[in-house]
Symmetry: D2
Subunit: 442 residues, 4 copies
């Protein structure tokens, strides 16, 4: 049994009349000071969210609105919930992943008057129940991750559907699910796709993942990257970040990628490019960030050097063929915290960080605070926008308005004291005329 769940909690779902749903379900309220301290650190490094809280959220449009939030329940995301709460919203929070929930953070949120249904590593049944409890607060607005809230709302709570005015969605996964729902005509409200915003994927996916993954790799292994050969699988946004920060620490980076154009971009950046079957023989470290499945397989594992280290920065933990690795190995042991060693029949040892799960959050603190400040600023502006304008927006997946995307960038620059160029009248005219007459070097 996890947390302080009331005794008579119904097995399947709570009656909405049940006043008990007003109460939070968390592990240990006593952890609040520790959680608060962590949230404070995040808060101090979120200038964009802080500005938005003051300049946009405080306009009263969120006052009394019920917002249900499902997120990785750690300090940075918690701070977003706090700001919505301080803007007058009636906020309910639940976890988007059973393992990422931190009990101290939950306790701190509850202490500040936010409703939380989440515990670290709950049973599957409890995890499911928490989400339903969040929905049963009858939210007006949803801040969703992977369509966890929207999906269950449609399947299990059709009666609550009409009350919802809109949602924001952070992942591509969620966006695709919502698109399917729209196709089936079952979604009566708009969902703003945050991942498509430039201020999300250009920063979070590229710099955020690369930066935090390399730090995590080195903090966990205590090894030396300079001069080592780091094989990066893929050359999309995530892999570009991995390559960039690995090279920044003096690694000799090797890139493997199926798109020949991207592979040549990697070459022009000065990275070595080769097929992964060759790379398998020379790599000291192997980093995956492709979003695809089993990019490192038996044929790669067979060729790797003794001591090779595998780490994954892609969303799911299936970029290595862990089943093959286990099959091929004669022994498996933890050799350091977060590092599993697989001993092959031929004596070679292959090491896997965080069991192939996300390197930066599975064996570290996740993305840097300043990066999440940007991503959550997009969510905050999205929710704020929906609070006043949801009715004017078509149901289904919609882009975050470009003005809000640029707005986040402008606020960030403003907190840095930087003014971007302003185009002159002549330049604006030229750009317009250029569209029909002029060349551009880009």
């Amino acid at each position: 049994m996890h947390g302080e769940v009331p005794v008579n909690w119904p097995a399947q779902r709570a009656s909405r009349e049940n006043s008990v749903i007003k109460e939070s379900v968390i592990k240990d309220p006593g952890l609040a000071p520790e959680g608060q301290r962590k949230i404070d650190w995040a808060a101090q490094h979120c200038p964009v969210l802080n500005t938005i809280a003051k300049d946009q959220l405080a306009d009263g449009s969120l006052r009394g609105r019920k917002v249900a939030v499902t997120v990785h329940l750690e300090a940075k995301t918690a701070y977003l919930a706090v700001l919505l709460h301080e803007a007058g919203a009636d906020v309910t929070v639940t976890g988007s992943n059973p393992l990422s929930t931190q009990d101290a953070i939950c306790a701190a949120l509850v202490e500040r008057g936010i409703r939380v249904f989440a515990t670290h590593d709950p049973s599957e049944e409890d995890f499911e129940r928490y989400i339903h409890m969040a929905l049963e607060t009858e939210p007006d607005l949803l801040l969703d991750d992977g369509a966890e809230l929207v999906g269950r709302l449609i399947e299990s709570h059709p009666d609550l559907l009409d009350k919802v005015e809109g949602a924001t969605e952070t992942t591509t996964t969620g966006i695709l699910k919502v698109r399917a729902m729209t196709g089936e005509g079952v979604l009566p409200f708009p969902v703003l796709g945050i991942n498509e915003a430039r201020m999300k994927h250009l920063f979070d996916n590229r710099y955020g993942t690369g930066h935090s993954s390399i730090v995590s790799l080195l903090a966990n292994t205590n090894l030396f990257l300079s001069g080592a050969r780091v094989v990066v699988m893929g050359f999309g946004w995530v892999s570009r970040g991995l390559a960039k920060y690995a090279a920044g620490f003096g690694a000799r980076v090797v890139v493997c990628e199926p798109d020949p154009v991207k592979l040549l971009e990697a070459h022009a950046e000065g990275y070595e490019v080769m097929n992964s079957l060759e790379a398998a023989e020379v790599g000291d470290f192997f980093l995956t960030g492709t979003g695809n499945v089993r990019v490192l397989r038996r044929e790669h594992l067979e060729r790797m050097k003794d001591g090779a280290i595998l780490a994954n920065a892609g969303h799911y933990d299936h970029e290595f063929d862990m089943a093959a690795l286990r099959e091929m190995s004669v022994a498996e042991r933890e050799v350091r915290e977060n590092i599993t060693e697989y001993e092959m029949a031929d004596g070679r040892r292959i090491h896997v960080i965080a069991r192939g799960r996300l390197l930066n959050s599975g064996a570290g603190d996740g993305h840097p605070v300043e990066i999440m400040d940007l991503t959550f600023a997009l969510h905050a502006l999205g929710i704020h926008h929906l609070a006043s304008h949801a009715k004017e927006i078509q149901p289904g997946i919609q882009p975050l308005p470009e003005a809000l995307d640029q707005g986040v960038a402008r606020i960030k620059l403003d907190t840095m004291g930087v003014k971007p160029e302003e185009l002159t009248e002549e330049q604006i005219r030229y750009q317009q005329s250029w569209r029909s007459e002029q060349s551009t070097p880009e």
Copy 2:
């Protein structure tokens, strides 16, 4: 009078019956050996074009086809003409810019049996006439730059229009003009837009311009970039290349850009970002690559330090306000080849490279050979594709088929001995299913 123009050449245009159009008009056939040597150097560093010549162009589909080509007439572009000629095409070449034509190159082309109408720095009238002479060869296919051929064809040679099957166009300028013509319904054949291909703008605009511009800047000034402050105007493809190579030589790069998202990307790359009015006060070098007009104006010139150096990598020579500079200055002199010094009333000296024209070609040899190998490979495949398939393609601007774009990348990798990843069956299925169900880290 330029070149060996035949005595009775008609003033306005040649009659098509006039056999004289078979003869070339160039400056000095005696320069052929020098031109040939330069072309040979380029040829040696064009592995992609060489492969395409052997594997695609040699299939006979160009045999006897009349191709009119307008290009910057220097070694690299000349080699493209040579390969089309060797593939059996009946090639006519003219220059796309009065100043960029090199007479030695023209001589070498003629010696190899290619028809050329071009001289260095011709009168405007001659320049115009050369283009018409090229059209009067009644070409089947056009390799165009800035819609110079297509435009004049429509305006002045409607009778030849039907004979043309298709064209390739290298610039955005040309693409936009052609789009307008299509809108007016006057264009009866397809034009493949080369600039939109990834193998063009990702390499030519970014790496090619940045690389050659920084080399040109340093070769011309004999100055030291390490530790100097280089202000880069803009952060599009061209400006990214400028910033990248300047930083690679140890410069402290400052980026000025109106798009706040791009400005934050520059910041995350570690560049300093600021408004150009502040940057004007601290820069040692100012590089423009915005494609816009007058990005450095009187208000910037007033703030610059004594000795500031201005150079332009954008297509047109109007990124600095040269009129203002001249107005503000009390003296103007050449202080080194390609460097003009403007002395201000207050004693400050401002230096302009290549009078504000393209830094890399106005004061150097233009893009690196290997980069042009890629760009011209796209043209060669485009012309080859049109030779067999023009009839199947809708008139107007069309993208180069993705298979040809990727094909250039694959050939390049092949010449490097690199095999890109091949997706497994499982991965292909996963990617497809992923489109409906899975998340991606990108």
Copy 3:
């Protein structure tokens, strides 16, 4: 009371006749498996030590020799002790620093048959006693850190002095102390100064400290370095490493340094250079590695921005004026593990990592394993050399023979499969003649 110290252990010092000195004094033998696992990880990444163990140490010259070792008792140093033990030496280990001793490592060493006198965080009295216990084993050879063993030997155990044949010393501190002892004529044996070897300070001080310090900074703060302004105090080996790795992660590095030549080197590297009173106003992070005292003082603290973060990579914890910081602050609290926040009267918050102690070992796992492999290889070869040749060496501080320094480099290259150039006969002659006649570009 710490560890399993025998009941009748004499308060001041043990009689040498007391057989009890054969027994180890550690905290908890049950921790051995955990300690062994950590040592195994280090062992796997120490190819140089492993080669030396096989090729040099195994020649029998250490068999039965008593070696006393004082080190930071963690996995990497423990492995050095293990190899000496496996070479047949009778090894006794004690800790060089009360806080760095890890009890699990001690347990693992004891389980392998090595004598250990050390516990984590002992009383001052116990710490002192452990060292004397190590000396009372009557060692032939000393592997010293800060002259802890040599100093106490001379002061308290003059009767044992003649038995000692030689020592290696890892720090400059120790070297200077030993030099003073030599001056006083009290040191009858040679001490090899390891820090002076190129394979030590070029790698350990520069790459090792910079690499591990930046990882530690980012792992502890969860902040984003790209685009941040990092002020590095000093531009010696340690500070160069800090600047290099910070810049590698996209930081804009500012260097402050009193030597004008070094400051210009920093400038030529592309770093911003300025006086620390100006730097104090712009820095986001402040890293010290000068080896001097109070390089960041009240006058700097007064100018720093809200949120500034201070971290030290220098040997001692006096590079910040912590007393001034405490005086100036109205509140002090732990805001994250290893991070103390000082709130100033004017509301600014200044953060200090690891209370100003060494960033990489005080808030991380210390230097990368591969770097310590090199440093300890020098020690191992030094001890091995002394075992056979101590009598032939003059007493006092002596350099490690150049052949051993180069030998470590050659072994490292060999484990990487790399063969350095071999000079031809002609080149050797030329170099010699060059010394009298020729110029060199260096």
Copy 4:
């Protein structure tokens, strides 16, 4: 016959009474405006020399002193002569190398009233005679390059020896020769060794050579360095500069070096390290800067890829075995200005830039102006110091006083507006005490 040499010029040497030695011997006085323009450009980028001219040289101590200068006679060195002249010295200039003398520069110097004996590409006899003519002006002070002046003075003008008070010497070659002379007891005055100054070799040899060599390589070849494999022979100051700037342009750098410690430094910098026989097979470009002889030999040439490009940044043109290359080739031709192609019997083509002579000055404008500003500032201060203090200095090779070396650095920082740290009283005490008691991280 070169220049306007007076008719009755005595074949062997001029009588000192001969007034003719007052007159200059140059090629064409009409070139003065062109030369002046070039000198002006250099002058504008020599802030350190300009400051020294104002603050030190103007103190009158050089007034009327005869200074003989032998230098590469191009704009930057000419400016040094101009400043000495303007300080009141009676300056005579001759060339240090037959090919580097620029006639326009000579003309400009003469026009300003400086005596010049130099023409471009003179006969050996004339070259020799010019040097003697400079000596026959009976100089008080010598600014020497390769001991050209000092050597001939001792051998041929013993009667003038006593008049000379001192000299500065720029090269290691010269320093070694002077050392030999001192050993033989034939040198009665002090010679300040400029190359040993930190402000010389740390900047000129490292940054200056690397920067200008890579620019020259790319300007001459029009090739693309990003992704290309550049083999750098050696890892001393010059080679480090080559590697640094090549990597900055995106090259994949391979380092070959006999010293195993330096080779591991290259590895830790992220460069690939290997033996040159392996490197010979993979390199696209080969750059030498070792100061040794025949570092690329037949065995390397045999393994190189078709199209390999060789360029030398070392002082002498014997780092490639050009004799072997010529023997192995079946054809040799100029394929581009400054590029010679050697065709091997097996069809491979190997290209050599500037015939193996110094890449940056043989095929470009030499070191960047700002770097020479530093080197010549050391000379200027050296000559100025000797003018007043030569009598107090021991004969033979002497270091430039550390205060002057640091002085150049301080002036440079001052012109940049940068103030280096000032040590506090406490820090100075600590540093001193540290020498006997404390550790340092460096």
